[in-house]
Structures are given as C-alpha cells and as structure tokens.
C-alpha cells in the first residue's frame, strides 16, 4: 500500500519534453580552435574576446575531467557535441512580430510571458534557446532607469567596456574544467547592469531552453549591481526528452558593490531522463557571487528538480565588510537522478555573515548529496555562519549524503552546522489520514512543509511554480 503511494508520487511525467520543429543553424560537431573561431565570428565578437576564448581552450586541453564528486558520470565525448546551435531567423528581432511564431509558441507552451500582452505578470524576460538569446522584453522601460538587461552578445557589442571589466573577474577560465570549457565555447546568456542607487522595479528573468539534439548549452550570465542598487533575478530551464545525454555547462558571475543586493533564484527543471535513467541533461554549472563592496548582500535560492546529474555549488565570496551571503536550496532527485550540490561561503571581510539552508529529497534510485564549504579566513573577524542541511528519504533504494567542510582560521568566528536525515514520519502520515487526508496528499503536504522554508524565499510567481514542480517531481513516490 505504502509502496504504491511512493511509486505514484515519484513517477510524474516531465511535461516540457516536446521538441520545437524549427530550422536550426548549427556548426559542425566537435571542439577545436577553428570551431571557436567560427562561434566567435558568428557572434561578431571583438578580438579580445576571441583571444580569451582561445586561451581558455588551450588551458582546457591541459585539464582532465575531475571525478571527486559523489556522482557516477559516464564518459563524456567532448568531440561529439555541437557547440553552437541557433534557431534560424532574421537578424535581431525588433519586436515580437518579427520573432518566429514557432518560437513564441514554444515559450508560450512553457508558460513564459514572452508576449507583451502578458504585461500584467510584470516580469522582464530574456529567452535563450540553444545558443542564442531570442528576445528580451521590457528592455525600453528598464533603459529609462539606466538598467541594462540584454543578451550577452548584445552586451559585448554595445557595452564592451563593462563586459571587459567584469568578464571572468569572479570565475576566471582557469577556475575549473567546466569553467575553462565554457569560457572557450560560451554562447549566449544574460547581461545585467544595475546603476548606482537604482532599485530594479521588476523581477528580471531568463528562460533557458535546449532544443536542438546533441547540442550542449554553454551560457554565460553576468550581473553587476553597482552601489546601493537592488535586483531580483530568476532563471528557469527546460529541455526536450531525448535518449541521449546533453551537456549544460554554464557560468554565472555576480558582482555586488557597496550596499547593493542581488537576489538570484533558479528553478532548474532540465529533462531528468526517463524512469530507467536513460537520457537527461548533465547540469555542470559554475555559479559564483562576489560581494565586493561593504554591506553588500547575495541571496541564492534554488529549486533543483531536473537534470540527470546536477553538479553545482553556487558560492559567495564575502569580501566586503559586513557583507551577507545566503543560500537556500531544495534539491529533489528521483528515479536515477544524481545530485551533488551545495554552496561555498568564503568569509574574507570583517563581520560577514552567511546562512545556508539546504533541503534534499531523494526518491527512487537516486543519490542526493550536499557538499558545502564554509571558510573563515584569518582576517574575517566576527564572521558568523549557520548551516542547516536536512535530507528526506522516500524509498529504500535511494541515498542521501552530507559532506560539509569547515575551514576556520579565526578565533572570533562562530560557525555552526547541523544536518539530519530521516524519512517521512509514519506518525505524521497517520495524523493526516485520521483527518481524512489521503496518503498521497499527506506526503505532498509534508514535503511541501519541509521545503517551505526555501520556497518562501522565491518570488511569488516562482514559488507557485516551484511548489507545483515539487509535487510533480515526486508524483507517485510516497514513503
């Protein structure tokens, strides 16, 4: 009986698995210097960026793929990937009527308010399909405030000085294997600049969509919040259902100046593979925020329900005095999904604070790990950290693991870490049953309550979506 419910709750269908039939322009498979030159040329990039790409590529060639994570990653053939794929359309759509209707249909299907008529939802959206940013909405309204919100390629063209100043300043190409790969072949992404003293009036968001087969997506996001500014940014991701595995290796860099704040929310729902673990996206992302100024603040919120393998650690470098880093995460793994995710909080400035809440839910045959680092450097007087990592196990074939690292080099630091692992309490289910709530609903309730602390941190529109996603991901899997 109980088994059935677990099965039911964990076997929901992936509803974004369709493929858009659209003409796609791709370049030959494989990776070499010529490919990089082609990508760069297609995007009409300046020489300095091409040089940087080539440098990154040459560095990448000297690296080996790391294997330290608690993940079982099949061999990836980097020569068997298309590094650039773009929906074919006329150059740079000026308004919606020029965007391919198939594309709009796609994004509508995903429920993304690309159409201006959905103005009421009040969100500026940048939509990225495969390697190209399709359309950014509300650009003009934002420009009045001096906010720059555009695709990365446009930023390179229109604001080269800004891009050049910050590009790679938080995640240099030498950082790790996937950062080097991304720096060599990155395609598109979002670029945001919030000028001094501006509070961005609406949520900015990007939807990433992988459409073409056998392609990898390598987007690059750069957000800069100048002094006293604030922005809330959301990203969402989906991909079609395919038997093969596709690679997604992005870099996200955030720079926060004095008294500024960035709130970065992710609802990651790449295709997780089927019930037998076939197919799905490999989500290997480097996300890092630099709290450069005093009193700056970063808040990462992520709801991870998709991807065959998730491997990422959104981190905060708390360099400014009194800067604050937050990390709220719900990671759900089901069937044969694997996740090794967490955060790094590097305290450098004085009186820096960080707060980590991580909620892992594993079901089916999945493996879900939290890996986090809290580092208090010698100069970080008065640093404070509190981390809480809870794991919930639904089913006896899955695993939940916690690997926190605490490196403390300062006597005034207070660092606390707490973790628990358990399954849903039978008493709780019984209590709900008694009050006429079915097993399935009871589990839904309990899981939602368990993740509430994190979901509450999401902007409202996303919170609703995340809650739905959570129940779909776990559909048919109560334990």
């Amino acid at each position: 009986m109980e088994e059935n419910i677990v099965d039911k709750v964990t076997q929901g269908e992936y509803k974004y698995g369709f493929v858009t039939d659209i003409e796609t322009e791709i370049i030959p498979k494989g990776l070499n210097e010529d490919i990089i030159r082609i990508i760069s040329k297609k995007k009409e990039e300046p020489d300095w960026l091409l040089d940087l790409r080539l440098k990154a590529y040459r560095h990448w060639c000297t690296l080996k793929m790391p294997h330290w994570a608690h993940l079982n990653i099949p061999e990836i053939d980097y020569q068997n990937i298309y590094y650039f794929a773009a929906p074919k359309s006329n150059p740079a759509p000026k308004d919606l009527s020029e965007v391919d209707p198939e594309l709009i249909k796609t994004f509508n299907k995903l429920g993304i308010p690309l159409e201006e008529q959905k103005q009421l939802s009040g969100m500026a959206v940048d939509a990225v399909m495969d390697s190209i940013s399709v359309k950014t909405t509300y650009k003009e309204n934002l420009a009045e405030l001096g906010i720059i919100f555009c695709s990365f390629s446009e930023a390179v063209r229109d604001y080269p000085d800004l891009v050049r100043q910050y590009f790679g300043s938080v995640v240099p190409y030498t950082d790790n294997f996937f950062a080097a790969l991304n720096s060599a072949v990155f395609s598109d992404g979002s670029f945001i600049y919030i000028p001094k003293g501006v509070r961005c009036p609406m949520e900015l968001s990007t939807y990433f969509r992988i459409n073409a087969a056998q392609t990898g997506q390598f987007e690059r996001t750069l957000i800069i919040a100048d002094d006293d500014s604030y922005v809330s940014y959301l990203e969402g991701c989906t991909a079609p259902m395919r038997d093969e595995n596709q690679l997604h290796a992005a870099i996200v860099e955030l720079v926060v100046h004095d008294r500024a704040e960035i709130k970065y929310s992710t609802v990651q729902n790449w295709y997780p593979g089927d019930k037998q673990g076939k197919g799905g996206i490999y989500n290997f992302v480097t996300k890092r925020a630099l709290c450069k100024g005093d009193d700056s603040k970063i808040s990462w919120t992520q709801v991870e329900t998709g991807s065959a393998i998730t491997w990422k650690y959104p981190s905060c470098i708390l360099m400014g005095n009194n800067s604050v880093g937050e990390f709220y995460s719900v990671a759900v793994t089901n069937n044969y999904q694997q996740a090794d995710t967490g955060t790094k909080m590097i305290h450098i400035g004085k009186n820096t604070k960080s707060h980590v809440v991580s909620k892992g839910i594993s079901a089916g045959h999945s493996q879900n790990s939290y890996r986090g680092l809290v580092k208090i450097s010698q100069k970080a007087d008065g640093a404070r950290n509190f981390s809480q990592c809870d794991s919930l196990l639904l089913g006896d074939k899955c695993g939940a693991h916690t690997f926190p690292y605490m490196d403390i080099h300062n006597d005034t630091a207070i660092v606390e870490h707490e973790a628990t692992t358990s399954k849903i309490n039978e008493d709780q289910i019984f209590y709900c049953n008694q009050r006429g709530i079915s097993n399935e609903d009871a589990v839904g309730l309990i899981v939602n309550g368990y993740a509430k602390e994190v979901i509450n941190k999401l902007p409202m529109e996303f919170a609703v979506e995340a809650q739905k996603l959570l129940s779909i991901s776990l559909e048919n899997s109560v334990g």
Binding site: H70, D396, H401, H409
Partner: protein, 455 residues
Amino acid sequence: MEIEQSYIKIYKDFGQLIKDNSAEVMNRERDKAFARFEELGFPTTKLEDYKHTDIRSRYAIDFGMNIRRVEFPINPYSVFKCDVPGINSHLFFIVNDSFYHDPQGDTTNKEIEDLISQGVLIGSLKEHAEKQPDLVAKYYGKAANVQNDGSVAFNAAFAQDGFFLYVPKNVVIEKPIQLINVMRATTDTMANSRNLIVLEEGAKAKFLVCAHTMDACNFLSNRVTEVFVGKNASYEHYKLENTSYNMTNIGSLYVEQSEGSNVLVNEMTLHNGFTRNNICINLNGEHAEALLCGMAIGDKEELIDNTTAINHNVSHCHSKELYKYVLNDKATGVFAGRILVKQDAQKTEAYQSNKNLCATKDAHVYSKPQLEIYADDVKCSHGATTGQIDDNALFYMRSRGISEREARMLLMLAFTNDVIENISVEALKNRIHLLVEKRFRGELSKCAGCIICKE
C-alpha cells in the same frame, strides 16, 4: 617518492631480518603489504583523507628502526610511575616497538595467573603468534585497511611485535588493562607496532593505552590496533596521549563489532606534536552499539587529526560520536567523521557532534562531518560548531569575583567535561580531570619534553 625510497631500500635489504625477528603468522602478509606500500607510498595531502595532515613529510627524518630487536636497557616498571594514581590496573609496556618483559613485572603476578587459568591470553603479540598461530592468524590483519592506506601498509610491512589480548567466552576482566607505549631513545627513532584484541561472546574488558615520550629526540610511532568484539561482548578503549612536541603519532584503530556488542572508544590528546588517529568502527551485527568520543587540547604548533568512520552495515545498530577540540596559539585541529549507513541497515540511529573552541587567530580548525546514507528508515544527524568562549558567561563569572583567567579555565573545563564524563573508570576520570586542568593552566606543557617528574 624519495622519502619512500629509503624505506623501500631498508625493506629490500633487511626484509629477511625483519621476518626472522617476528612471528610466522605476522610474516604471511608482510611481502604483500610491502608491495602495496610500494604502490601507494605514504599518504599525501592530495588525498581527500589527508588533505590537512601532511604525514608524509613527517617520515622524512632519518629515523632509526630497531629491526634486530635489540633490548633497550631500561626497566619501565621502575622508571615509569604511572600517572594515574589510584588506578588499579594490569600494567604492560611497549618500549618503542617491543613488548617489555619484566621478570618481576605484572606478567607473573597472581591476578594474571588467575586470568590465564580462565583461558585469557595476554602479552606479546609475537610470542602468542608463535604459540597460537591458528588463533592469531584468524584475526591478524583481517580488519586493518592495508589496501587503501599507505601508512597502514607500511605498518604491516615493518611491525614485528605488539600487544595481544584474547578473552574467551563469558570471561570478564574487571580491572582495566593498561598498555603504555613509551618512546625512549638517544637518537631519532621510529616504532611500528601492532595490537590485536579479541573478545569472544559475552566477554568484557577495558583497555587503556597511554602514549608517552621520555626523551627529547624526534620520534615517530605508527601503531595499528585491531579489535574484534564478539556477540554481546563489551569493550572499552581509552587512549591517552601525553607526548612531546617532537613526536609524530599515527594510530589506526579498527573495531569489528558483532551482534549485540557494546563498544566505547575514548581518545584524549592532552599534549602532543603531530597526531593522526584513524578510527574505523564496523557494526556487523544487529543491535550493536558504539560510542565514540574524543577530545584534544592543542597549543603551540601542534596538530591533532581525528579521522573517524562508523559503518552501519546491518540494521538496528546505534552509534553516537562526540569530539571536542580546544585550540590555542598556532595549533591545528582536524576532524573528519563519516557515518555510512548501508542500504539494508534500516532502523539505524547515528548521531555525531563536533565542537571546537578556538582561542587565537592563528589556531585553525578543519571540520568535516559527513553522512552517507543509503537506507531510508534511519535517524541520523550531525552537528558541528566552532566558536569561542561565550562573553556573557565570562562576564557572569567575573561579576561574581572570579578572575578572567580562572573563569576562562572553568568554561574550558566545562566544555571538555562531556567527553571526560564518558570514562567509566573512576580513577582515570579523576586523573584526567586533573590533567586537563593542569593542561589549561599551562603546567603540563612546561615540561612536556619530559614526563617523568610530572608529579
């Protein structure tokens, strides 16, 4: 591999001599262990488990090894006054790497004879391996992780002697058995020794190991202890380290627990140079219970690394782990604790806690509590904190006329108290209370190079 090369050469040149001066049972796997050591080398900081503890460089000193088993001309029974007054124990010594036979010593007294008549085997591992090869072979090397740890492989290749204890079915040894590892030499010396402890069904024993240094030379000891605890047996293991700053102490403890057994491990490091404790407890039978605790007080540039693993291999087992560190000056504390719950180990309860007190800016703590869980019906948690003495508590005491120094000490004592409270041997508990207090007053480190005249 230069550091390893010199030892490889020693083994190649003197391998036969090592074997001639050990027992046949201990020699069986020796060449294999050596081959494994040749492959692995000493652990480097590139390995996750040794990330903050560079034990390889500690082997770089040109240590002497006593391969020919030359007897050292001291009688520890007369020189060494046990520093746990009032403790009533069976006392044994390992001087450097050899079991010490004292004609007038404990091995011949009446109580021991009494135990021997009940079937207890106690004394030198080498001798018992010669007398009871089948019994020793059944257990020797069965728990130690020779395959993955270069340091343990090194020990298996070079250890020639050690301590052996066998407690037959339902025999209870009331008095604690105390084994003192003394380092005594005039030149830099390395000691590799091996302890084997076997408790049959329903047996009971308490074992106290003390590590001491008596000279100011550079010492390195690499000791591997294997413990097999039978069904419903009960075993307590205390380790007290009080060594000098020039000492490198690498201790590996492997405990295999059967159904319904109960084990307490308590490792206390009061004063040391460079210490690495590997502790691995395997819960192999249902309803087994393990309590693992430890405490470390470090100052100067001391390093204390406790790397522990508790493996829940079957269902219905309980484990609890508690480690506390107090660090001063430029001391480094490393704690890595892993709890592994295998897929079918349902109804497991495992709790782990690590608390650290940092008193200076240059003291470093690396804490790595880990949970790896493959079963769903479990209750597991871990917690780790690092901080300093609570200012409010300090203020409270000072406002009541207690000097700051005294108040600090009281709070630090209270902090370490939960670990000390887990000692069931009353005399030892009182003694450790006193030693910890002395340690915090700085009296212990003053003459840390010499332990003899401590009283």
